[in-house]
C-alpha cells in the first residue's frame, strides 16, 4: 500500500476577518477526505485560528441565547479536522509560527497544533507534493 501524499498550506489571516480562512479550512477538509496528509503552517494572524479561548456569544439584537445563536468558532472546526484526519488514517500537522504566537499572546491553543518556525515551513515544502500560500491582503 502506498503512503499518502502530502500537501502543504500556509495561512496568514486571523479568524473572522476574511473568507480566506473559511476557504482554507474547506481546502484542508477536502484534501484530508481525499486521503492526503496535510501540513499547515499558521503565520501571523492565522495563529489565532486554533486559539482555545474563542467563545460563542448570544445575539441580543435578535433576542437569541448562546445556544440559539450557535455561533461557530474556528477552533472547533480545526479540532474536527484533526479528528477527521485521525479517523481517516492520515495526518494533519498544524504548526504555529512561534514568534507570531508570542507577539500576539496566542499561546493557548486547542490540543493538536504545535509551535514551530519558518524552518518547519521549509521542511514541509520539501516533503510535499505541492504548497499553496494563501496570502493576506
Amino acid at each position: 500500500m502506498t503512503s499518502p501524499r502530502t500537501l502543504t498550506f500556509l495561512l496568514m489571516d486571523a479568524p473572522y476577518e476574511s473568507s480566506r480562512s473559511t476557504t482554507a479550512l474547506r481546502l484542508i477538509d477536502t484534501a484530508l477526505r481525499r486521503g492526503y496528509n496535510v501540513n499547515v503552517f499558521a503565520y501571523e494572524g492565522a495563529v489565532y485560528l486554533p486559539f482555545s479561548k474563542q467563545a460563542p456569544h448570544a445575539n441580543a439584537v435578535h433576542g437569541r441565547s448562546v445556544e440559539e445563536e450557535d455561533h461557530p468558532n474556528p477552533k472547533d472546526w480545526i479540532a474536527a479536522l484533526l479528528a477527521a484526519a485521525a479517523a481517516r488514517g492520515v495526518t494533519l500537522d498544524w504548526v504555529q509560527c512561534g514568534l507570531c504566537v508570542d507577539e500576539r499572546g496566542a499561546a493557548e491553543s486547542i490540543p493538536g497544533p504545535r509551535r514551530g518556525g519558518p524552518p518547519d515551513f521549509f521542511k514541509f515544502t520539501q516533503g510535499s507534493v505541492n504548497t499553496l500560500v494563501i496570502p493576506t491582503r
Binding site: L7, T23, T30
Partner: protein, 104 residues
C-alpha cells in the same frame, strides 16, 4: 508544458485583476492554465459581458467554485460561455498534479 493554477478570490474592485488576466493570457497557449474563481472572485464569471471571455478564448480553463456561486445566488446557467462551475476538489487535483499555484 507546465501546469499553472491561478486562484482569484477577490472581485475586480478588490484586486488588480487586470494583472491576473495579463498573467493568464501570457501563459495560455504554451502551458496548461486553470483560473479558479472562489469567494467574490466568482462575480467575474457572470454573463456574457464577463472580462474573462478573452481568457477562455485563449485556452485558459476558467472554473467557478460551486459553493461560492451558491452563496451568492449565481446559478450555473448565468455564467459566461466557456466558464463552468466546479467543486473545490479541482484545486486539490491541480495541486496534486504539480501545478504552480498562485492566490490572488
Amino acid at each position: 508544458m507546465n501546469r499553472y493554477l491561478l486562484i482569484q478570490a477577490s472581485d475586480a474592485y478588490e484586486c488588480r485583476s487586470d494583472h491576473l488576466r495579463a498573467l493568464a493570457n501570457g501563459l495560455a497557449g504554451k502551458h496548461h492554465v486553470t483560473l479558479f474563481l472562489v469567494q467574490n472572485g466568482v462575480q467575474a464569471a457572470r454573463s456574457a459581458a464577463s472580462p474573462l471571455r478573452e481568457l477562455v478564448k485563449a485556452g485558459v480553463h476558467v472554473r467557478a467554485d460551486e459553493f461560492s456561486l451558491k452563496e451568492r445566488g449565481i446559478p450555473a446557467d448565468r455564467l459566461a460561455p466557456g466558464i463552468t462551475a466546479a467543486p473545490l476538489d479541482l484545486v486539490i487535483e491541480e495541486l496534486a498534479a504539480g501545478a504552480k499555484a498562485l492566490w490572488f
